[in-house]
């Protein structure tokens, strides 16, 4: 029974990684850049939700929506100010700029909200599901996290497959110049991608802090890096890849913690990543097998 419980916890943590990784992967697919600031957008989203609930006493749904709204605006703003002028620049220059933005967000949060960690309020009621005569307990937070991830995943697949904007995104990631010739507004498409990625980051931030309720300016950086590895793990640029990579990474991490060693869980996660990449250098769902976004 403990195995099943660890598995469910792993899928839940993996779902959070997957939601963050989706943001990474979409931005990478279109803008071909590693958006290092993505992890810090998560942190901003969590803070916004925290203040909406704690200081203004708004209902949780409004808090989440507000976080999404502000993160979306933030994502578009970052893209306009920092990344757009560097469209033609070498990729390392963009990488350093993204690192700069990441520092900026972290230190801005430090100034605005202080370095003391805040305890995130529980959004969902603490009810739990008891199965098998109480041998298996699943928290509502866990279930909602997994459900949210599945809904987002299906929504994104439908969006990129069927809508006009989704098709434009795929076209841009295939060939930007050809997309321009087809009358696609590439700049707007990239902005929309950043907007969606940042909105997802806000959701991930709220879910992350519901599961691990300590909120600090550096809260987003480690999950950000892990989600980034998850995206690469599954094959960067691919939406199902990010989903698979995130879930697997979460399961590996929880199992390593439970059965091997808590101290070495990070090392084990990264070791598995290295091994997978050495065997399959393009990630689990490499570029050739799936549609890139």
């Amino acid at each position: 029974m403990s195995f099943l419980s660890h598995l469910i916890n792993g899928i839940s943590l993996g779902s959070i990684y997957a939601i963050i990784a989706l943001g990474y992967t979409m931005v990478y697919g279109i803008a071909k850049m590693l958006n290092f600031a993505h992890g810090d957008v998560i942190m901003v989203g969590a803070y916004v939700c925290f203040f909406a609930l704690n200081s203004f006493g708004l209902p949780p749904v409004v808090g989440v929506l507000l976080a999404m709204l502000i993160c979306t605006a933030l994502g578009i703003l970052i893209e306009r100010l920092a990344y757009k002028p560097l469209r033609a620049a070498p990729s390392l220059a963009v990488l350093i700029t993204a690192i700069g933005v990441s520092y900026f967000l972290q230190n801005g949060a430090l100034l605005l909200w202080g370095s003391n960690s805040k305890v995130f309020p529980s959004i969902f009621n603490n009810a739990a599901l008891h199965l098998f005569d109480g041998q298996l307990t699943i928290g509502v937070t866990t279930l909602i996290t997994i459900a949210a991830c599945v809904v987002i995943m299906i929504g994104l697949t439908l969006f990129t497959g069927n809508t006009k904007m989704g098709k434009a995104m795929r076209a841009c990631s295939e060939d930007k110049d050809a997309a321009i010739l087809m009358g696609i507004n590439v700049n707007r498409t990239i902005s929309v991608t950043f907007a969606i990625g940042s909105a997802l980051a806000a959701i991930a931030g709220v879910l992350l802090c519901s599961a691990y309720p300590l909120l600090q300016p550096t809260t987003g950086s480690m999950p950000g890096i892990k989600a980034f590895t998850a995206a690469v793990f599954g094959g960067i640029g691919s939406i199902p890849g990010a989903f698979l990579g995130g879930i697997l990474l979460g399961i590996i991490e929880i199992f390593a913690k439970a059965y091997l060693s808590t101290e070495l869980s990070d090392a084990i996660v990264f070791l598995v990543l290295i091994l997978v990449l050495l065997i399959k250098p393009t990630g689990l769902l490499g570029k050739k097998t799936v549609v890139k976004v």
């Binding site: 990478y28 560097l86 033609a88 390392l92 990488l95 520092y103 050495l278 250098p281």
Partner: protein, 363 residues
């Protein structure tokens, strides 16, 4: 007269070399004078050795990223290996070796060598990957090293050296001493790093890299970076050269780590994390890929900058990040860059005209 002029006229590469060496030496003399006359704040004095260490790390990463053209985000791993090896060796030999500089050199060689060996072993599988995949694997490598060192225990007593992993099961005899204590890191380190040693090490790394760049191997590496297929087709053994360059880079990073580690009385593994790797990468990119002098200047300026911005107090890291973004935006702005190259050309033309008219006057 004409002959002498020819002798004195240095080529472009030589001129760059001489100015770079001159810059480092001039800086050393300048700082020494400041220090002797008591014009250097304590805070800055504490930064002198770390600045040298950062310069070495930047030079070493420049070999991987700038000259070899492979993005690595795990350089802190090599620095960490070097630092902790150096600290262990220095602590072990402390009772035997009385001369500080001998102790430092032994630690330096040991730290560099172990980092180099690890770099070689990691490089064999990893260098097959390309671009962002290599970046993520090296990042993972750095994190693994951090986790491993964080759980490592080393101590010694009259029975010899004791190792333990995960749990502190050293069981040292009476009078034994812990060198590395897991998450608590290394404590009571012999502080044998000096500013002079740091400067000499920077000069050594510079000399080594310039020699490398001018050699057959350096040209092969640069050819590989610019077009690996073309390089392979003219008979350059890509794997071998890549691996050699990566190993040398790891060796140098390890030496930087030794210099860094032996400057403090205690260090912890957690300090050598992604942030350090990224910091070094920022030095390299801001200094210019493949530009050794740039790496040194960037490492120096960016380490001093937060100290200079101290008057901004809480806003200093915010200001730092804004400076970082602004530099990237300005140096990559086509219009500004074009304007600047035009101004430079104008100035040069003006000087040549002036010189010509001067010569004409003489004649």
């Amino acid at each position: 007269m004409e002959q002498m002029k020819k002798k004195l006229h240095l080529g472009k590469t030589n001129r760059e070399k001489v100015t770079t060496f001159g810059l480092v030496i001039a800086l050393y003399v300048f700082v020494e004078i400041l220090q002797r006359t008591g014009n250097l704040s304590n805070l800055m004095r504490g930064q002198l050795v770390p600045i040298c260490a950062y310069m070495i790390m930047a030079l070493s990463l420049n070999l991987t990223v700038g000259i070899l053209g492979e993005l690595s985000l795990g350089h802190a791993g090599f620095v960490s290996i070097g630092a902790f090896t150096g600290v262990t060796v220095a602590s072990l030999l402390r009772p035997v070796v009385s001369q500080n500089w001998i102790l430092f050199v032994i630690a330096l060689v040991a730290g560099g060598t172990l980092a180099g060996i690890v770099g070689f072993l990691i490089g064999i599988p990893v260098l097959r990957l390309r671009g962002d995949y290599l970046a993520i694997v090296t990042l993972a490598f750095g994190e693994i090293v951090k986790s491993l060192v964080n759980n490592l225990y080393i101590g010694f007593d009259q029975n010899g050296i004791h190792f333990a992993f995960l749990h502190d099961t050293l069981n040292l005899a009476e009078g034994g001493k812990k060198i590395i204590a897991g998450p608590m890191g290394a404590t009571t380190i012999p502080k044998v790093s000096t500013f002079l040693a740091g400067v000499l090490l920077v000069l050594f790394c510079l000399y080594f890299l310039y020699r490398l760049l001018g050699s057959k191997m350096g040209r092969a590496i640069k050819a590989m970076r610019d077009n690996s297929i073309a390089a392979e087709s003219v008979g350059i053994n890509i794997t071998r050269y890549k691996l050699t360059a990566f190993t040398m880079s790891a060796f140098m990073a390890g030496m930087g780590g030794v210099l860094f580690g032996l400057n403090y009385s205690s260090i912890i593994a957690g300090k050598f994390n992604v942030d350090l790797s990224i910091l070094i990468l920022v030095f390299v990119v801001l200094g210019g890929l493949g530009n050794l002098r740039g790496s040194i200047i960037a490492a120096g300026v960016l380490t001093v900058l937060p100290e200079l911005l101290r008057s901004l107090r809480d806003y200093r890291m915010l200001a730092y990040s804004i400076v970082l973004i602004a530099i990237m935006l300005i140096t990559n702005n086509q219009i500004l860059v074009q304007w600047w190259t035009q101004r430079k050309k104008d100035l040069k033309n003006m000087f040549t005209r002036l010189r010509k008219s001067g010569q004409g006057g003489e004649g």
